[in-house]
């Protein structure tokens, strides 16, 4: 085992081992539990940074475990996996801090944090998966490890949400498995690679390959919440706020979007997809999802529900970028949105959790004047919301800018139209919240206020959203610097001949 393999393995184990230990810890031992969690995530971030540097300088990180002829598990660090792994591990650290503060004093915490750690292990596994079988393995495991988190409260409502989540996710997994096997019977075993499979198969199996592409996209589209496969996501909002943050920004929805990226770029490859002519289909689904999500978000009064529909809409920008795979600028826009959407959405969920935890506010109609009571939280919320609308200099602007440039380069005027309309809708459902919060007048008591120390809320609840909000601003300001999500995405795109 060489050092690269050791590194990959330790990246996975740095959250797996703490997770297993946490399961065995007694409930009261929260100091040790927190310590393990934080150490694990800091170690993981450092290891992933080491890997990123290695990848940048062209080192190979690869573990192969053959199972049966034609089926092997392959962990592989490439620039794309580095992007997702870095995002997940950084956001995991912040979410852990937040969750420690959020769940203080609630029951079953060792259970919660155990699954939490397993969940991030699996997410990193998805990032590092080097072929479809390995991707499928971690993709199904992700369903299993997030299910206990979704039903953590154990109420009738959360059980129903969990049941729907399972049916959607495993249904998608089953479709995905069939598609993977089918693809393999045609093109043989293949790893993720920049070229995709040989174009000669398209002549012989064109329609079947198109069908397989659709099945694969359906399989990952369930987690990416593409309309009409999105039904589980708004229901899953019954879970505690850190879980929502995890589902929307770190793990589940992101895993689906990441799957779309992998299938488009690394399984089929740009050239094959252009030959097959299935990209307009993906573009159509993405457009419908973007607009539908925004319209539904408008109708919600429940803050978390509105954010959930907003996720459905925003994640599809990634799919939209992928549907113009022949335009490097659009691909950059889609890829970078993977990171940017994560940063913005996690900020919003942290803030929504703070409002609910501190003041008992769940509805937008209750938010009048809340910025005076919780200025820092609402400042973070506002930055993220403006980012979602796409106002410079936030990161959201960068994503939309590149998507728009890509659309122009391809001569896709309708894409520009979609961007404009969806930005208007975003503004329509976010700006009223901001106006209410900053300029509204408080009416009566807050629904359930708890008095907490010196700050507007617990420190552990306050710091994570502030950090992510600052990143949302800074990453947008320095997007052209040497080290930024955008720079890394450009580095990724260099690897493909688009």
């Amino acid at each position: 085992m060489n050092s690269g393999q050791l590194l990959l393995l330790s990246i996975l184990l740095s959250s797996f081992i703490p997770g297993i230990i946490i399961f065995c810890l007694p409930e009261e031992n929260h100091r040790l539990r927190t310590l393990l969690n934080l150490c694990g995530s800091i170690v993981k971030i450092s290891l992933i940074l080491v890997m990123n540097v290695g990848i940048y300088y062209g080192h190979v990180f690869e573990i192969r475990i053959p199972l049966i002829p034609g089926v092997e598990l392959l962990l592989n660090g490439d620039p794309l996996s580095a992007l997702f792994a870095t995002l997940s591990s950084v956001l995991w650290l912040l979410t852990t801090i937040y969750a420690v503060g959020y769940l203080e004093g609630s029951p079953n915490r060792s259970h919660f944090f155990g699954y939490f750690s397993l969940c991030v292990t699996v997410t990193i596994g998805i990032a590092l998966a080097g072929n479809l079988v390995t991707f499928l393995l971690f993709y199904e495991m992700l369903t299993l490890t997030t299910y206990p988190l979704v039903i953590h409260r154990g109420t009738e409502k959360s059980l129903r949400a969990g049941r729907n989540y399972l049916i959607y996710a495993f249904g998608g997994g089953a479709v995905f498995l069939v598609a993977v096997v089918w693809l393999q019977t045609i093109v043989g075993p293949m790893d993720f690679s920049a070229a995709g499979f040989s174009p000669s198969y398209i002549d012989s199996h064109g329609p079947v390959l198109s069908l397989i592409f659709c099945l694969l996209i359906i399989g990952v589209g369930v987690k990416a919440a593409l309309v009409p496969l999105h039904g589980w996501l708004p229901q899953a909002m019954v879970a505690p706020a850190p879980v929502s943050a995890l589902l929307h920004a770190v793990a589940v929805v992101k895993a689906g979007a990441f799957g779309i990226i992998r299938i488009v770029l690394d399984v089929f490859g740009a050239q094959n997809l252009l030959l097959l002519g299935v990209l307009p289909l993906l573009a159509g689904v993405a457009t419908v999802t973007i607009l539908y999500g925004s319209v539904r978000a408008l109708q919600q009064d429940d803050l978390k529900k509105r954010l959930a529909y907003s996720t459905i809409s925003q994640v599809s920008y990634i799919a939209l970028g992928m549907s113009m795979v022949d335009q490097p600028l659009a691909v950059i826009g889609g890829l970078v949105h993977l990171v940017h959407q994560g940063l913005m959405k996690i900020t919003l969920f942290f803030c929504a959790g703070n409002l609910a935890e501190t003041l008992g506010i769940h509805r937008i109609s209750e938010m009048r004047g809340v910025a005076r009571r919780m200025p820092l939280t609402m400042a973070a919320f506002s930055i993220a919301a403006l980012g979602m609308i796409g106002i410079p200099p936030t990161v959201g602007f960068i994503s939309k800018w590149y998507l728009g440039l890509g659309g122009l380069a391809a001569g896709n005027w309708w894409l520009l139209l979609v961007l404009v309309v969806s930005s208007l809708l975003n503004a329509w459902y976010f700006l009223p919240i901001l106006i209410k919060a900053w300029f509204g007048k408080q009416q009566g008591e807050w629904p359930a206020e708890i008095a907490i120390g010196r700050f507007e809320t617990r420190l552990m609840l306050l710091v994570p959203p502030l950090v992510t909000a600052v990143i949302v601003l800074v990453a947008g300001l320095v997007a052209n610097a040497q080290i930024s999500p955008l720079a890394w995405v450009r580095f990724i795109v260099q690897g493909y001949t688009l």
Binding site: L67, N108, L144, I167, V178
Partner: protein
């Protein structure tokens, strides 16, 4: 020591040793657990040793008393037989430990302790007899010998099923006994036809002699019906759920994980080795269709059950269907031996279903009932059991990296390759049904119950919880052992074709 390890006479140990142990258990009723544990350990050791011998020397035949067929009785090893032997040895060890924990817990009960003392007295000798029968079945190289082992298994299994003593279980086990006898008789009739046509009983000699004559066809039909009755393939499954669900917990484990596998193993051997030349595609498709019906019917019934143990039993009916779906698909498997998919399903199911029945037994011990509606909050009091249940369920659903995933992969590949997509649909539908019945129970485990409904109970001993967890973990990570298992499987499965290989130099 090396000299001893090479000896072919080790092959007789897995049959003789449990027989002796059964006798000893009957005679020394105070030391039963120690005797059984030692037997199970030696059994596991010998199974490993035989695999070592297989890898080094290839297929070995052993002639009891030195008499060669067609007069004498022969034992032989090859890849599939030894993997089944290993499966029995591993689950057998876990079952032995679990049964110890189970009876200790039950006997500690002040009210009904004496009754369980009584049950325990009969459990151990019967379990040892059953083990001897199973080992004999996997190792026998002779079609009549196989009948003897089938009878041994059938009678000891039916007696074990009757141990619980409740009226429901007595009815179920009596029916089980009758079905088992009927199956054996049909099998015997098949042998008669066979002997009349071919004049030999040894499998090695019989190889390649299966010709398309009416007598042989009748023999195949009779042998198949007899074995199907014992394997409980739909529509002959009606006896299984009540018999498995009403037995004592360790007995349910034995019946579901091991006993049905024995007769299936034999059936598969007959169809794909002995009678392979005369088996037609439509016959294979017929078996596959029955398997498909079993998967769907068993899955739907499992979802509808109100009791946990019945649900697990119907899940067995459903999982057995996968073994038969492999029939029409086995011939188009590419790159791997014909046995591989079946063996992976059997091994995964043996481990996962044992774990699941153990978990169900633990829940029953803990709550005093197994009504699915009232299972709320078990997770808080039995975390290890619930974890084992969950992992076993994941393996049954065939998610990676379980062994069933490998099997599912092979079957899907085969069905898509040969454009028989309907099998692929059934396979995926079966997995989704499994998801529903596994998680229907799981969601109850996760509910946080109201405080007052929790009553104080004696904690379960580690012997009850850990065997379940370890078996479940084996099932979950079985695919990582796949290269090694395939290597063993490829040893000697074709070796049967050689006549009189002459044992060892």
């Amino acid at each position: 020591m090396i000299f001893l390890a090479d000896s072919p006479s080790w092959m007789i140990t897995p049959v003789i040793l449990p027989l002796i142990a059964g006798l000893l258990c009957f005679l020394f009723s105070r030391r039963t657990f120690v005797i059984a544990l030692i037997t199970a350990l030696i059994n596991l050791f010998v199974a490993c040793l035989l695999i070592y011998q297989l890898l080094v020397f290839g297929t070995i035949r052993y002639y009891i008393g030195g008499w060669r067929p067609p007069i004498g009785i022969s034992l032989r090893t090859d890849g599939p037989a030894l993997l089944m032997l290993l499966m029995t040895a591993v689950t057998g060890l876990a079952i032995t430990l679990y049964a110890r924990g189970y009876f200790s817990y039950r006997i500690a009960d002040p009210v009904r302790g004496s009754r369980h003392q009584h049950q325990q007295r009969y459990f151990w000798p019967l379990w040892m007899l059953l083990l001897a029968g199973l080992n004999g079945l996997f190792l026998s190289g002779d079609i009549f010998n196989l009948y003897v082992t089938l009878e041994l298994i059938g009678i000891s299994a039916a007696s074990l099923a009757a141990l619980s003593g409740k009226p429901a279980s007595q009815r179920a086990s009596f029916r089980y006994l009758l079905i088992s006898l009927l199956g054996s008789l049909t099998y015997l009739l098949g042998i008669v036809f066979f002997y009349r046509t071919c004049g030999v009983l040894d499998l090695g000699v019989l190889q390649n002699t299966a010709i398309n004559e009416p007598g042989i066809r009748a023999a195949l039909a009779l042998l198949t019906v007899g074995l199907l009755l014992k394997t409980a393939l739909v529509p002959l499954h009606f006896w299984l759920p009540p018999a498995h669900a009403n037995a004592l917990a360790p007995v349910s484990v034995i019946l579901s994980a091991l006993v049905v596998k024995g007769s299936f193993y034999l059936l598969f051997r007959f169809w794909f080795e002995l009678f392979a030349p005369i088996v037609t595609t439509s016959a294979l498709n017929f078996m596959g269709t029955l398997g498909a019906i079993a998967i769907l019917w068993g899955g739907i019934q499992a979802i509808r059950q109100q009791r946990l143990k019945l649900m697990v039993a119907y899940s067995t009916v459903s999982q057995l269907g996968y073994l038969f779906i492999a029939f029409p698909l086995s011939r188009t498997l590419t790159g791997v031996p014909v046995w591989s998919a079946v063996i992976f399903i059997a091994l995964t199911h043996a481990c996962a279903k044992s774990a699941m029945f153990m978990a169900a037994g633990n829940v029953y011990l803990h709550l005093g009932h197994d009504r699915i509606r009232n299972l709320d909050g078990v997770r808080a009091s039995l975390p290890i059991t619930v974890f084992a249940y969950g992992i076993a369920g994941v393996s049954l659903m065939g998610l990676p990296p379980s062994g069933a995933f490998i099997a599912k992969w092979m079957l899907l590949t085969s069905s898509i390759d040969s454009s028989q997509w309907w099998w692929a649909l059934v396979i995926m539908a079966g997995s989704l049904l499994a998801m529903v019945y596994v998680f229907r129970v799981m969601s109850h485990f996760f509910v946080i119950p109201k405080r007052e409904s929790l009553k104080e109970t004696t904690p379960l001993s580690p012997l009850l919880e850990w065997p379940a967890l370890i078996l479940a973990l084996i099932a979950l990570f079985l695919s990582l052992l796949a290269p090694w298992l395939l290597h063993i499987l490829s040893q000697g499965s074709t070796g049967l074709a050689q006549l009189f290989p002459g044992g060892l130099p």
